[in-house]
Protein backbone atom coordinates (compact mmCIF):
# COMPACT_ATOMS: atom_id res chain seq x y z
CA UNK A 1 0.00 0.00 0.00
CA UNK A 2 1.26 3.42 -0.90
CA UNK A 3 1.15 6.15 1.61
CA UNK A 4 0.05 9.00 -0.55
CA UNK A 5 1.64 12.28 0.12
CA UNK A 6 -0.95 14.85 -0.58
CA UNK A 7 0.13 17.54 1.81
CA UNK A 8 1.21 19.63 -1.13
CA UNK A 9 1.31 23.23 -0.01
CA UNK A 10 -1.45 25.11 -1.74
CA UNK A 11 -3.86 27.92 -1.41
CA UNK A 12 -4.95 26.26 1.78
CA UNK A 13 -2.40 26.56 4.53
CA UNK A 14 -0.98 23.12 5.31
CA UNK A 15 -1.27 23.59 9.06
CA UNK A 16 -5.01 24.00 8.94
CA UNK A 17 -7.14 21.02 9.87
CA UNK A 18 -8.84 19.53 6.85
CA UNK A 19 -12.59 19.90 7.09
CA UNK A 20 -12.95 16.45 5.56
CA UNK A 21 -10.21 13.89 5.57
CA UNK A 22 -9.95 10.29 4.42
CA UNK A 23 -7.12 8.15 5.77
CA UNK A 24 -5.97 5.00 4.05
CA UNK A 25 -9.36 3.96 2.71
CA UNK A 26 -9.61 0.42 1.39
CA UNK A 27 -12.66 -0.85 -0.42
CA UNK A 28 -12.87 -4.15 -2.25
CA UNK A 29 -15.66 -5.72 -4.23
CA UNK A 30 -14.97 -9.43 -4.07
CA UNK A 31 -11.60 -9.72 -5.78
CA UNK A 32 -11.81 -6.32 -7.37
CA UNK A 33 -9.94 -3.65 -5.48
CA UNK A 34 -11.85 -0.39 -5.63
CA UNK A 35 -9.71 1.64 -3.28
CA UNK A 36 -6.24 0.62 -2.20
CA UNK A 37 -5.24 2.81 0.71
CA UNK A 38 -6.38 6.20 -0.49
CA UNK A 39 -6.02 9.32 1.59
CA UNK A 40 -7.54 12.67 0.79
CA UNK A 41 -7.79 16.05 2.46
CA UNK A 42 -10.31 18.76 1.81
CA UNK A 43 -9.43 22.12 3.35
CA UNK A 44 -11.81 24.91 4.19
CA UNK A 45 -12.36 27.36 1.38
CA UNK A 46 -11.17 25.24 -1.52
CA UNK A 47 -12.48 23.38 -4.51
CA UNK A 48 -10.84 19.98 -4.67
CA UNK A 49 -11.28 18.19 -7.94
CA UNK A 50 -10.99 14.43 -8.19
CA UNK A 51 -9.99 13.14 -11.60
CA UNK A 52 -9.08 9.73 -12.88
CA UNK A 53 -9.75 7.29 -15.64
CA UNK A 54 -12.70 4.93 -15.55
CA UNK A 55 -12.16 2.39 -12.80
CA UNK A 56 -9.57 4.52 -11.06
CA UNK A 57 -11.69 4.64 -7.94
CA UNK A 58 -13.15 8.16 -8.18
CA UNK A 59 -16.72 7.12 -7.60
CA UNK A 60 -15.81 4.55 -4.96
CA UNK A 61 -13.85 7.20 -3.08
CA UNK A 62 -16.73 9.64 -3.24
CA UNK A 63 -19.25 6.99 -2.31
CA UNK A 64 -17.24 6.22 0.81
CA UNK A 65 -17.12 9.91 1.70
CA UNK A 66 -20.86 10.37 1.22
CA UNK A 67 -22.03 7.21 2.94
CA UNK A 68 -23.16 5.37 -0.19
CA UNK A 69 -20.47 2.74 0.42
CA UNK A 70 -18.83 1.63 3.64
CA UNK A 71 -15.03 1.35 3.38
CA UNK A 72 -13.49 -1.96 4.48
CA UNK A 73 -10.64 -0.19 6.19
CA UNK A 74 -9.49 3.30 6.90
CA UNK A 75 -10.90 6.32 8.59
CA UNK A 76 -12.97 9.32 7.63
CA UNK A 77 -12.70 12.47 9.69
CA UNK A 78 -15.07 15.41 9.51
CA UNK A 79 -13.67 18.54 11.17
CA UNK A 80 -11.07 16.35 12.83
CA UNK A 81 -13.61 13.97 14.34
CA UNK A 82 -13.82 10.37 13.17
CA UNK A 83 -17.17 9.62 11.55
CA UNK A 84 -18.68 6.46 10.16
CA UNK A 85 -21.53 6.67 7.71
CA UNK A 86 -23.77 3.66 7.24
CA UNK A 87 -26.15 5.37 4.82
CA UNK A 88 -26.12 8.50 2.64
CA UNK A 89 -28.58 9.95 5.13
CA UNK A 90 -25.89 9.82 7.86
CA UNK A 91 -23.49 11.84 5.76
CA UNK A 92 -26.20 14.33 4.96
CA UNK A 93 -27.06 14.78 8.61
CA UNK A 94 -23.37 15.29 9.36
CA UNK A 95 -23.31 18.10 6.77
CA UNK A 96 -22.00 16.41 3.62
CA UNK A 97 -24.38 17.02 0.73
CA UNK A 98 -24.08 15.39 -2.68
CA UNK A 99 -25.29 16.56 -6.08
CA UNK A 100 -25.61 13.96 -8.80
CA UNK A 101 -25.25 14.34 -12.52
CA UNK A 102 -28.80 13.32 -13.33
CA UNK A 103 -30.48 16.53 -12.18
CA UNK A 104 -32.12 14.92 -9.19
CA UNK A 105 -34.92 17.37 -8.61
CA UNK A 106 -38.65 16.84 -8.51
CA UNK A 107 -39.94 18.40 -11.75
CA UNK A 108 -43.53 19.21 -10.81
CA UNK A 109 -42.62 20.83 -7.49
CA UNK A 110 -41.59 24.46 -7.37
CA UNK A 111 -38.10 25.75 -6.59
CA UNK A 112 -38.79 26.40 -2.91
CA UNK A 113 -40.40 22.98 -2.40
CA UNK A 114 -37.40 21.34 -4.01
CA UNK A 115 -34.95 23.21 -1.80
CA UNK A 116 -36.85 22.03 1.25
CA UNK A 117 -37.75 18.57 -0.03
CA UNK A 118 -37.23 16.03 2.74
CA UNK A 119 -36.67 18.72 5.37
CA UNK A 120 -39.85 20.73 5.26
CA UNK A 121 -40.50 23.21 8.00
CA UNK A 122 -43.81 23.44 9.80
CA UNK A 123 -45.64 26.43 11.11
CA UNK A 124 -45.24 27.40 14.71
CA UNK A 125 -47.84 26.59 17.33
CA UNK A 126 -51.09 24.69 16.89
CA UNK A 127 -51.12 24.85 13.08
CA UNK A 128 -47.70 23.23 12.89
CA UNK A 129 -47.71 20.80 15.79
CA UNK A 130 -51.29 19.52 15.58
CA UNK A 131 -52.40 20.26 12.02
CA UNK A 132 -48.86 19.60 10.73
CA UNK A 133 -49.17 22.58 8.42
CA UNK A 134 -46.17 23.54 6.32
CA UNK A 135 -44.76 27.01 6.67
CA UNK A 136 -44.98 27.58 2.92
CA UNK A 137 -44.55 31.34 3.02
CA UNK A 138 -41.62 31.11 5.41
CA UNK A 139 -39.88 28.43 3.36
CA UNK A 140 -40.31 30.51 0.20
CA UNK A 141 -38.88 33.54 1.90
CA UNK A 142 -35.89 31.65 3.25
CA UNK A 143 -35.39 29.89 -0.08
CA UNK A 144 -35.22 33.32 -1.72
CA UNK A 145 -32.66 34.46 0.85
CA UNK A 146 -30.53 31.35 0.36
CA UNK A 147 -30.55 31.75 -3.41
CA UNK A 148 -29.55 35.39 -3.07
CA UNK A 149 -26.82 34.45 -0.65
CA UNK A 150 -25.52 31.86 -3.09
CA UNK A 151 -25.71 34.44 -5.86
CA UNK A 152 -28.14 32.45 -7.99
CA UNK A 153 -29.79 35.42 -9.59
CA UNK A 154 -31.52 33.41 -12.31
CA UNK A 155 -33.86 31.75 -9.83
CA UNK A 156 -35.58 34.58 -8.08
CA UNK A 157 -39.09 33.25 -8.58
CA UNK A 158 -39.11 30.33 -6.18
CA UNK A 159 -42.72 29.43 -7.03
CA UNK A 160 -41.89 28.29 -10.57
CA UNK A 161 -42.13 24.52 -11.09
CA UNK A 162 -38.67 23.15 -11.70
CA UNK A 163 -39.70 21.55 -15.00
CA UNK A 164 -40.12 25.04 -16.45
CA UNK A 165 -36.41 25.69 -15.90
CA UNK A 166 -33.48 25.00 -18.16
CA UNK A 167 -31.06 22.17 -17.38
CA UNK A 168 -28.53 24.59 -15.92
CA UNK A 169 -31.12 26.18 -13.70
CA UNK A 170 -32.31 22.78 -12.54
CA UNK A 171 -28.81 21.83 -11.61
CA UNK A 172 -28.51 25.20 -9.87
CA UNK A 173 -31.53 24.19 -7.79
CA UNK A 174 -29.85 20.88 -6.94
CA UNK A 175 -26.59 22.63 -6.03
CA UNK A 176 -28.43 25.25 -4.01
CA UNK A 177 -30.25 22.50 -2.13
CA UNK A 178 -26.92 20.91 -1.30
CA UNK A 179 -25.25 24.14 -0.32
CA UNK A 180 -28.11 25.69 1.63
CA UNK A 181 -29.00 25.34 5.26
CA UNK A 182 -25.61 25.02 6.89
CA UNK A 183 -24.00 22.15 5.05
CA UNK A 184 -20.26 21.78 5.65
CA UNK A 185 -19.13 20.09 2.46
CA UNK A 186 -20.71 19.85 -0.97
CA UNK A 187 -19.80 16.95 -3.23
CA UNK A 188 -20.60 17.35 -6.91
CA UNK A 189 -20.52 14.13 -8.90
CA UNK A 190 -20.14 15.05 -12.58
CA UNK A 191 -22.55 17.95 -12.18
CA UNK A 192 -22.16 19.15 -15.75
CA UNK A 193 -22.32 15.80 -17.52
CA UNK A 194 -25.90 16.35 -18.64
CA UNK A 195 -25.49 20.02 -19.49
CA UNK A 196 -24.52 22.15 -22.46
CA UNK A 197 -21.54 24.49 -22.51
CA UNK A 198 -23.31 27.60 -21.36
CA UNK A 199 -25.25 25.78 -18.67
CA UNK A 200 -22.07 24.05 -17.49
CA UNK A 201 -20.47 27.44 -17.06
CA UNK A 202 -23.35 28.59 -14.90
CA UNK A 203 -22.87 25.60 -12.65
CA UNK A 204 -19.09 26.09 -12.46
CA UNK A 205 -19.61 29.71 -11.60
CA UNK A 206 -21.88 28.57 -8.83
CA UNK A 207 -19.17 26.19 -7.58
CA UNK A 208 -16.76 29.11 -7.29
CA UNK A 209 -19.35 31.14 -5.44
CA UNK A 210 -19.93 28.31 -2.98
CA UNK A 211 -16.23 28.23 -2.24
CA UNK A 212 -16.04 32.00 -1.91
CA UNK A 213 -19.02 31.81 0.41
CA UNK A 214 -17.06 29.44 2.64
CA UNK A 215 -18.34 26.01 1.60
CA UNK A 216 -15.57 23.66 0.45
CA UNK A 217 -16.43 21.63 -2.62
CA UNK A 218 -15.35 18.25 -3.94
CA UNK A 219 -15.84 18.10 -7.69
CA UNK A 220 -15.67 14.87 -9.64
CA UNK A 221 -15.28 15.45 -13.33
CA UNK A 222 -14.03 14.02 -16.57
CA UNK A 223 -13.79 17.40 -18.11
CA UNK A 224 -10.21 18.69 -17.80
CA UNK A 225 -10.85 22.29 -18.89
CA UNK A 226 -13.63 22.54 -16.34
CA UNK A 227 -11.46 21.07 -13.62
CA UNK A 228 -8.64 23.48 -14.38
CA UNK A 229 -11.12 26.33 -14.51
CA UNK A 230 -12.46 25.94 -10.98
CA UNK A 231 -10.25 23.65 -8.88
CA UNK A 232 -7.75 24.86 -6.32
CA UNK A 233 -6.21 21.42 -6.00
CA UNK A 234 -6.63 18.30 -8.07
CA UNK A 235 -6.53 14.83 -6.56
CA UNK A 236 -5.61 12.28 -9.21
CA UNK A 237 -6.77 8.68 -8.85
CA UNK A 238 -5.10 5.89 -10.73
CA UNK A 239 -5.89 2.18 -10.44
CA UNK A 240 -7.48 2.47 -7.02
CA UNK A 241 -4.67 4.54 -5.58
CA UNK A 242 -3.96 8.18 -5.25
CA UNK A 243 -1.44 9.20 -7.90
CA UNK A 244 -0.89 12.51 -6.16
CA UNK A 245 -2.30 15.96 -5.76
CA UNK A 246 -1.49 18.81 -8.11
CA UNK A 247 -2.69 22.35 -8.57
CA UNK A 248 -3.72 24.08 -11.79
CA UNK A 249 -0.63 26.30 -11.44
CA UNK A 250 1.89 23.57 -10.74
CA UNK A 251 0.88 21.37 -13.65
CA UNK A 252 -0.97 21.76 -16.92
CA UNK A 253 -3.69 19.63 -18.43
CA UNK A 254 -1.34 17.46 -20.46
CA UNK A 255 0.67 16.63 -17.38
CA UNK A 256 -2.46 15.87 -15.43
CA UNK A 257 -3.64 13.48 -18.11
CA UNK A 258 -0.19 11.88 -18.17
CA UNK A 259 -0.32 11.26 -14.42
CA UNK A 260 -3.89 10.01 -14.70
CA UNK A 261 -2.95 7.46 -17.37
CA UNK A 262 0.33 6.44 -15.80
CA UNK A 263 2.53 7.97 -18.50
CA UNK A 264 4.10 10.15 -15.85
CA UNK A 265 4.36 10.10 -12.10
CA UNK A 266 4.58 12.82 -9.55
Amino acid sequence: MTVTDSATPTAATPQRTPILEARELVKTYGRVVGLDGVSLQLYPGEVLAIIGDNGAGKSTLVKCLTGAEIPDEGQILLEGQPVSFRRPQDARIAGIETVYQNLAVSPALDVASNLYLGREERKKGFAGSVLRMLDTAGMRERARQELTRLGISTLQDVTVPVENLSGGQRQAVAVARAAAFGSKVVVLDEPTAALGVRESNQVLELVKRLRDGGIPVILISHNMPQVFQVADRIHIQRLGKSAGVITPTSHDMTEAVAIMTGAATL
Binding site: Y100, A104, V105, A108, L117, G118, T154, N201, Q202
Partner: protein, 346 residues
Protein backbone atom coordinates in the same frame (compact mmCIF):
# COMPACT_ATOMS: atom_id res chain seq x y z
CA UNK B 1 -27.85 40.33 -5.39
CA UNK B 2 -27.13 41.43 -8.92
CA UNK B 3 -23.67 42.61 -7.96
CA UNK B 4 -22.89 39.07 -6.77
CA UNK B 5 -23.51 37.50 -10.15
CA UNK B 6 -20.24 37.76 -11.96
CA UNK B 7 -18.18 36.44 -14.86
CA UNK B 8 -19.93 34.26 -17.51
CA UNK B 9 -22.55 36.78 -18.40
CA UNK B 10 -25.98 35.49 -17.63
CA UNK B 11 -27.97 37.60 -20.07
CA UNK B 12 -29.99 40.32 -18.45
CA UNK B 13 -33.49 39.05 -17.89
CA UNK B 14 -32.35 35.48 -17.37
CA UNK B 15 -33.39 32.24 -18.90
CA UNK B 16 -36.85 32.27 -17.37
CA UNK B 17 -37.84 35.33 -19.37
CA UNK B 18 -36.53 33.68 -22.49
CA UNK B 19 -38.99 30.91 -21.78
CA UNK B 20 -41.80 33.38 -21.24
CA UNK B 21 -40.96 35.21 -24.46
CA UNK B 22 -41.71 32.08 -26.42
CA UNK B 23 -45.25 31.92 -25.07
CA UNK B 24 -48.18 31.97 -27.43
CA UNK B 25 -51.85 32.13 -26.38
CA UNK B 26 -52.02 28.35 -26.69
CA UNK B 27 -48.94 27.73 -24.60
CA UNK B 28 -50.25 30.17 -22.02
CA UNK B 29 -53.43 28.10 -21.75
CA UNK B 30 -51.28 25.03 -21.45
CA UNK B 31 -49.20 26.55 -18.70
CA UNK B 32 -52.31 27.60 -16.83
CA UNK B 33 -53.73 24.07 -17.08
CA UNK B 34 -50.36 22.75 -16.06
CA UNK B 35 -50.37 24.77 -12.89
CA UNK B 36 -54.06 24.38 -12.13
CA UNK B 37 -55.08 20.97 -13.48
CA UNK B 38 -58.65 21.30 -12.13
CA UNK B 39 -59.51 24.12 -14.56
CA UNK B 40 -60.55 21.89 -17.43
CA UNK B 41 -62.85 19.58 -15.42
CA UNK B 42 -64.41 22.63 -13.75
CA UNK B 43 -65.16 24.16 -17.15
CA UNK B 44 -66.55 20.86 -18.46
CA UNK B 45 -68.78 20.47 -15.40
CA UNK B 46 -70.21 23.99 -15.62
CA UNK B 47 -70.81 23.72 -19.37
CA UNK B 48 -72.42 20.29 -19.11
CA UNK B 49 -74.73 21.40 -16.28
CA UNK B 50 -75.83 24.39 -18.38
CA UNK B 51 -76.32 22.30 -21.53
CA UNK B 52 -78.28 19.54 -19.79
CA UNK B 53 -80.28 22.20 -17.95
CA UNK B 54 -81.29 23.73 -21.27
CA UNK B 55 -82.07 20.35 -22.79
CA UNK B 56 -84.39 19.23 -20.04
CA UNK B 57 -86.36 21.27 -17.53
CA UNK B 58 -86.24 18.57 -14.93
CA UNK B 59 -82.43 18.41 -14.87
CA UNK B 60 -81.97 21.45 -12.64
CA UNK B 61 -84.76 20.52 -10.22
CA UNK B 62 -83.46 20.29 -6.63
CA UNK B 63 -84.64 16.69 -6.41
CA UNK B 64 -82.63 15.73 -9.49
CA UNK B 65 -79.48 17.55 -8.36
CA UNK B 66 -79.74 15.84 -4.99
CA UNK B 67 -80.09 12.51 -6.76
CA UNK B 68 -76.89 13.18 -8.72
CA UNK B 69 -74.94 13.99 -5.54
CA UNK B 70 -76.10 10.76 -3.95
CA UNK B 71 -75.22 8.76 -7.04
CA UNK B 72 -71.79 10.31 -7.04
CA UNK B 73 -71.06 9.92 -3.31
CA UNK B 74 -69.64 6.40 -3.35
CA UNK B 75 -67.56 6.78 -6.50
CA UNK B 76 -66.45 10.16 -5.16
CA UNK B 77 -65.16 8.52 -1.99
CA UNK B 78 -63.27 5.79 -3.78
CA UNK B 79 -61.90 8.45 -6.14
CA UNK B 80 -60.16 10.08 -3.17
CA UNK B 81 -58.33 6.83 -2.45
CA UNK B 82 -57.64 6.35 -6.14
CA UNK B 83 -56.25 9.90 -6.44
CA UNK B 84 -53.74 9.31 -3.66
CA UNK B 85 -52.49 6.17 -5.35
CA UNK B 86 -52.43 7.63 -8.86
CA UNK B 87 -50.49 10.64 -7.54
CA UNK B 88 -47.72 8.20 -6.62
CA UNK B 89 -47.77 6.96 -10.23
CA UNK B 90 -49.66 3.84 -9.18
CA UNK B 91 -53.14 2.57 -9.85
CA UNK B 92 -55.54 0.60 -7.69
CA UNK B 93 -57.86 -1.84 -9.43
CA UNK B 94 -58.96 -3.31 -6.12
CA UNK B 95 -60.77 -0.29 -4.60
CA UNK B 96 -64.22 -1.66 -5.45
CA UNK B 97 -63.43 -5.14 -4.20
CA UNK B 98 -62.06 -3.77 -0.93
CA UNK B 99 -65.16 -1.62 -0.50
CA UNK B 100 -67.49 -4.58 -1.03
CA UNK B 101 -65.45 -6.75 1.32
CA UNK B 102 -65.48 -4.05 4.02
CA UNK B 103 -69.21 -3.44 3.61
CA UNK B 104 -69.98 -7.17 3.93
CA UNK B 105 -67.80 -7.45 7.02
CA UNK B 106 -69.48 -4.41 8.59
CA UNK B 107 -72.98 -5.68 7.82
CA UNK B 108 -72.36 -9.30 8.79
CA UNK B 109 -70.53 -8.63 12.05
CA UNK B 110 -73.33 -6.28 13.08
CA UNK B 111 -76.14 -8.64 12.17
CA UNK B 112 -74.90 -12.25 12.38
CA UNK B 113 -72.34 -11.81 15.17
CA UNK B 114 -74.26 -9.17 17.10
CA UNK B 115 -71.29 -6.84 17.29
CA UNK B 116 -72.33 -3.29 18.30
CA UNK B 117 -72.62 -1.05 15.24
CA UNK B 118 -69.73 1.34 16.07
CA UNK B 119 -67.45 -1.63 16.66
CA UNK B 120 -68.59 -3.17 13.37
CA UNK B 121 -67.54 0.04 11.63
CA UNK B 122 -64.16 -0.08 13.34
CA UNK B 123 -63.74 -3.68 12.17
CA UNK B 124 -64.62 -2.53 8.66
CA UNK B 125 -61.96 0.16 8.94
CA UNK B 126 -59.44 -2.47 10.00
CA UNK B 127 -60.39 -4.61 7.01
CA UNK B 128 -59.77 -1.59 4.76
CA UNK B 129 -56.40 -0.92 6.39
CA UNK B 130 -55.37 -4.58 6.12
CA UNK B 131 -56.34 -4.72 2.45
CA UNK B 132 -54.56 -1.45 1.68
CA UNK B 133 -51.54 -2.53 3.69
CA UNK B 134 -51.43 -5.82 1.80
CA UNK B 135 -51.39 -3.97 -1.52
CA UNK B 136 -48.81 -1.56 -0.18
CA UNK B 137 -46.49 -4.29 1.06
CA UNK B 138 -46.63 -6.11 -2.26
CA UNK B 139 -45.82 -2.88 -4.08
CA UNK B 140 -43.00 -1.77 -1.78
CA UNK B 141 -41.42 -5.04 -0.65
CA UNK B 142 -41.80 -7.23 -3.71
CA UNK B 143 -41.41 -4.23 -6.03
CA UNK B 144 -44.32 -5.40 -8.17
CA UNK B 145 -46.12 -2.92 -10.41
CA UNK B 146 -49.26 -1.60 -8.67
CA UNK B 147 -51.36 -2.54 -11.71
CA UNK B 148 -50.45 -6.21 -11.37
CA UNK B 149 -50.64 -6.25 -7.59
CA UNK B 150 -54.12 -4.80 -7.49
CA UNK B 151 -55.29 -6.90 -10.41
CA UNK B 152 -54.37 -9.90 -8.29
CA UNK B 153 -55.80 -8.57 -5.06
CA UNK B 154 -58.99 -7.49 -6.86
CA UNK B 155 -59.72 -11.16 -7.47
CA UNK B 156 -58.52 -12.22 -4.05
CA UNK B 157 -60.76 -9.73 -2.27
CA UNK B 158 -63.75 -10.60 -4.47
CA UNK B 159 -63.27 -14.28 -3.69
CA UNK B 160 -62.86 -13.55 0.03
CA UNK B 161 -66.07 -11.52 -0.06
CA UNK B 162 -68.04 -14.38 -1.57
CA UNK B 163 -66.48 -16.95 0.76
CA UNK B 164 -67.19 -14.79 3.78
CA UNK B 165 -70.72 -13.70 2.92
CA UNK B 166 -71.85 -16.85 1.15
CA UNK B 167 -73.13 -14.57 -1.57
CA UNK B 168 -76.01 -13.34 0.56
CA UNK B 169 -77.13 -9.73 0.65
CA UNK B 170 -77.79 -8.10 4.03
CA UNK B 171 -80.74 -5.71 3.86
CA UNK B 172 -80.65 -2.33 5.59
CA UNK B 173 -83.70 -3.22 7.68
CA UNK B 174 -81.80 -6.03 9.39
CA UNK B 175 -78.93 -3.76 10.41
CA UNK B 176 -78.60 -1.45 13.40
CA UNK B 177 -79.65 2.09 12.43
CA UNK B 178 -76.11 3.46 12.50
CA UNK B 179 -75.04 1.48 9.43
CA UNK B 180 -77.59 2.81 6.89
CA UNK B 181 -77.48 6.22 8.65
CA UNK B 182 -75.22 7.54 5.86
CA UNK B 183 -78.22 7.24 3.52
CA UNK B 184 -80.56 9.37 5.61
CA UNK B 185 -81.14 12.83 4.24
CA UNK B 186 -81.92 16.29 5.52
CA UNK B 187 -83.25 19.22 3.55
CA UNK B 188 -81.41 22.45 2.91
CA UNK B 189 -83.23 25.04 0.79
CA UNK B 190 -85.37 22.39 -0.83
CA UNK B 191 -82.45 20.14 -1.69
CA UNK B 192 -82.17 16.75 -0.04
CA UNK B 193 -78.67 16.18 1.20
CA UNK B 194 -77.70 12.79 2.57
CA UNK B 195 -75.30 12.26 5.44
CA UNK B 196 -73.07 10.32 3.05
CA UNK B 197 -72.73 13.32 0.74
CA UNK B 198 -71.67 15.51 3.67
CA UNK B 199 -69.13 12.87 4.69
CA UNK B 200 -67.71 12.85 1.18
CA UNK B 201 -67.28 16.62 1.21
CA UNK B 202 -65.57 16.48 4.59
CA UNK B 203 -63.29 13.76 3.29
CA UNK B 204 -62.29 15.92 0.32
CA UNK B 205 -61.61 18.87 2.61
CA UNK B 206 -59.41 16.81 4.89
CA UNK B 207 -57.45 15.05 2.14
CA UNK B 208 -56.93 18.20 0.09
CA UNK B 209 -55.68 19.97 3.20
CA UNK B 210 -53.24 17.15 3.93
CA UNK B 211 -51.99 16.98 0.35
CA UNK B 212 -51.50 20.70 -0.02
CA UNK B 213 -50.40 21.74 3.45
CA UNK B 214 -48.35 18.98 5.00
CA UNK B 215 -44.92 17.52 4.37
CA UNK B 216 -46.49 14.10 3.85
CA UNK B 217 -48.64 15.51 1.05
CA UNK B 218 -45.66 17.08 -0.62
CA UNK B 219 -43.78 13.79 -0.36
CA UNK B 220 -46.67 11.98 -2.05
CA UNK B 221 -46.30 14.32 -5.01
CA UNK B 222 -42.50 14.04 -4.99
CA UNK B 223 -42.59 10.24 -4.97
CA UNK B 224 -44.99 10.14 -7.90
CA UNK B 225 -43.12 12.82 -9.76
CA UNK B 226 -39.65 11.28 -9.66
CA UNK B 227 -39.05 8.41 -7.27
CA UNK B 228 -35.27 8.53 -7.58
CA UNK B 229 -35.09 12.29 -7.01
CA UNK B 230 -37.32 11.88 -3.96
CA UNK B 231 -35.06 9.16 -2.59
CA UNK B 232 -31.97 11.30 -3.14
CA UNK B 233 -33.67 14.16 -1.32
CA UNK B 234 -33.90 11.90 1.72
CA UNK B 235 -37.54 10.88 1.43
CA UNK B 236 -38.24 7.33 2.52
CA UNK B 237 -40.05 6.37 -0.63
CA UNK B 238 -41.32 2.99 0.51
CA UNK B 239 -42.69 4.38 3.73
CA UNK B 240 -44.59 7.07 1.82
CA UNK B 241 -45.97 4.50 -0.62
CA UNK B 242 -47.07 2.16 2.14
CA UNK B 243 -48.77 4.99 4.00
CA UNK B 244 -50.60 5.98 0.81
CA UNK B 245 -52.00 2.46 0.39
CA UNK B 246 -53.00 2.35 4.06
CA UNK B 247 -54.72 5.73 3.78
CA UNK B 248 -56.50 4.53 0.65
CA UNK B 249 -57.70 1.43 2.54
CA UNK B 250 -59.10 3.58 5.35
CA UNK B 251 -60.87 5.89 2.89
CA UNK B 252 -62.35 2.89 1.07
CA UNK B 253 -63.76 1.64 4.40
CA UNK B 254 -65.53 4.99 4.77
CA UNK B 255 -66.81 4.43 1.24
CA UNK B 256 -68.18 1.06 2.35
CA UNK B 257 -70.24 2.75 5.04
CA UNK B 258 -71.55 5.32 2.57
CA UNK B 259 -72.37 2.50 0.13
CA UNK B 260 -74.43 0.69 2.77
CA UNK B 261 -76.45 3.85 3.35
CA UNK B 262 -76.80 4.63 -0.34
CA UNK B 263 -78.20 1.23 -1.32
CA UNK B 264 -79.70 0.51 2.10
CA UNK B 265 -78.08 -2.90 1.88
CA UNK B 266 -74.74 -4.64 1.79
CA UNK B 267 -74.48 -6.77 -1.29
CA UNK B 268 -71.50 -8.87 -2.40
CA UNK B 269 -72.41 -8.04 -6.00
CA UNK B 270 -72.39 -4.26 -5.56
CA UNK B 271 -69.84 -2.09 -7.23
CA UNK B 272 -68.83 -4.20 -10.19
CA UNK B 273 -68.04 -1.09 -12.26
CA UNK B 274 -66.86 1.04 -9.42
CA UNK B 275 -63.13 0.32 -9.85
CA UNK B 276 -63.10 1.74 -13.32
CA UNK B 277 -65.50 4.53 -12.41
CA UNK B 278 -63.13 5.72 -9.71
CA UNK B 279 -60.21 5.73 -12.17
CA UNK B 280 -62.41 7.53 -14.69
CA UNK B 281 -63.27 10.22 -12.15
CA UNK B 282 -59.60 10.76 -11.27
CA UNK B 283 -58.49 10.93 -14.89
CA UNK B 284 -61.28 13.28 -15.96
CA UNK B 285 -60.41 15.33 -12.89
CA UNK B 286 -57.04 16.17 -14.40
CA UNK B 287 -54.78 13.97 -12.28
CA UNK B 288 -51.98 12.55 -14.36
CA UNK B 289 -51.71 8.76 -14.59
CA UNK B 290 -47.95 9.26 -14.67
CA UNK B 291 -48.04 10.56 -11.12
CA UNK B 292 -47.02 13.71 -9.32
CA UNK B 293 -49.62 15.98 -10.84
CA UNK B 294 -53.21 16.67 -9.95
CA UNK B 295 -55.42 17.73 -7.08
CA UNK B 296 -58.02 15.76 -5.21
CA UNK B 297 -60.83 18.26 -5.91
CA UNK B 298 -60.38 17.48 -9.58
CA UNK B 299 -61.51 13.92 -8.84
CA UNK B 300 -64.71 15.19 -7.22
CA UNK B 301 -65.32 17.27 -10.34
CA UNK B 302 -64.56 14.20 -12.43
CA UNK B 303 -67.03 12.08 -10.47
CA UNK B 304 -69.65 14.83 -10.77
CA UNK B 305 -69.06 15.13 -14.53
CA UNK B 306 -69.67 11.41 -14.96
CA UNK B 307 -72.77 11.65 -12.76
CA UNK B 308 -74.09 14.67 -14.64
CA UNK B 309 -73.52 13.03 -18.02
CA UNK B 310 -75.21 9.80 -17.02
CA UNK B 311 -78.15 11.60 -15.44
CA UNK B 312 -78.47 14.23 -18.14
CA UNK B 313 -78.36 11.74 -20.99
CA UNK B 314 -80.87 9.54 -19.21
CA UNK B 315 -83.23 12.50 -18.78
CA UNK B 316 -82.74 13.30 -22.45
CA UNK B 317 -84.19 9.86 -23.07
CA UNK B 318 -81.06 8.29 -24.45
CA UNK B 319 -80.24 4.64 -23.93
CA UNK B 320 -77.71 3.65 -21.24
CA UNK B 321 -75.24 2.66 -23.91
CA UNK B 322 -74.93 6.31 -24.95
CA UNK B 323 -74.03 7.24 -21.37
CA UNK B 324 -71.26 4.69 -21.45
CA UNK B 325 -70.15 5.95 -24.84
CA UNK B 326 -70.02 9.52 -23.55
CA UNK B 327 -67.97 8.54 -20.50
CA UNK B 328 -65.53 6.66 -22.73
CA UNK B 329 -65.06 9.69 -24.95
CA UNK B 330 -64.55 11.91 -21.89
CA UNK B 331 -61.78 9.66 -20.62
CA UNK B 332 -59.95 9.69 -23.94
CA UNK B 333 -60.21 13.48 -24.13
CA UNK B 334 -59.01 13.87 -20.55
CA UNK B 335 -55.93 11.73 -21.11
CA UNK B 336 -55.17 13.51 -24.38
CA UNK B 337 -55.33 16.86 -22.60
CA UNK B 338 -53.02 15.49 -19.90
CA UNK B 339 -50.46 14.38 -22.48
CA UNK B 340 -50.60 17.78 -24.12
CA UNK B 341 -50.17 19.55 -20.78
CA UNK B 342 -47.18 17.40 -19.94
CA UNK B 343 -45.36 18.62 -23.03
CA UNK B 344 -44.62 21.82 -21.10
CA UNK B 345 -41.75 19.86 -19.72
CA UNK B 346 -40.01 19.61 -23.09
Amino acid sequence: MSQLSSAPPAPKGDLASEFLDRSTPLSRIRNALHRYPAISPAVVLVVSVIVFGLLNDRFLLPSNLSLITQQVAVVGTLAVAQTLIILTAGIDLSVGAVMVLASMVIANTATENGVPAPLALVIGLIVGLLAGGFNGLLVTRLKLPPFIVTLGTLNIFLALTLLYSGGATVRGGEMPDLLPWTGTAFTVAGVNISVGVVMVLVLYLVVSFILARTAWGRHVYAVGDDKEAARLAGIQVNRVLLSVYLAAGAIIAVGAWIQIGRSNAASPNAGADINLDSITAVVIGGTSLFGGRGIVWGSLLGALIVGVFRNGLALAGLDVLYQTLAVGILVIIAVTVDQWIRKVRA
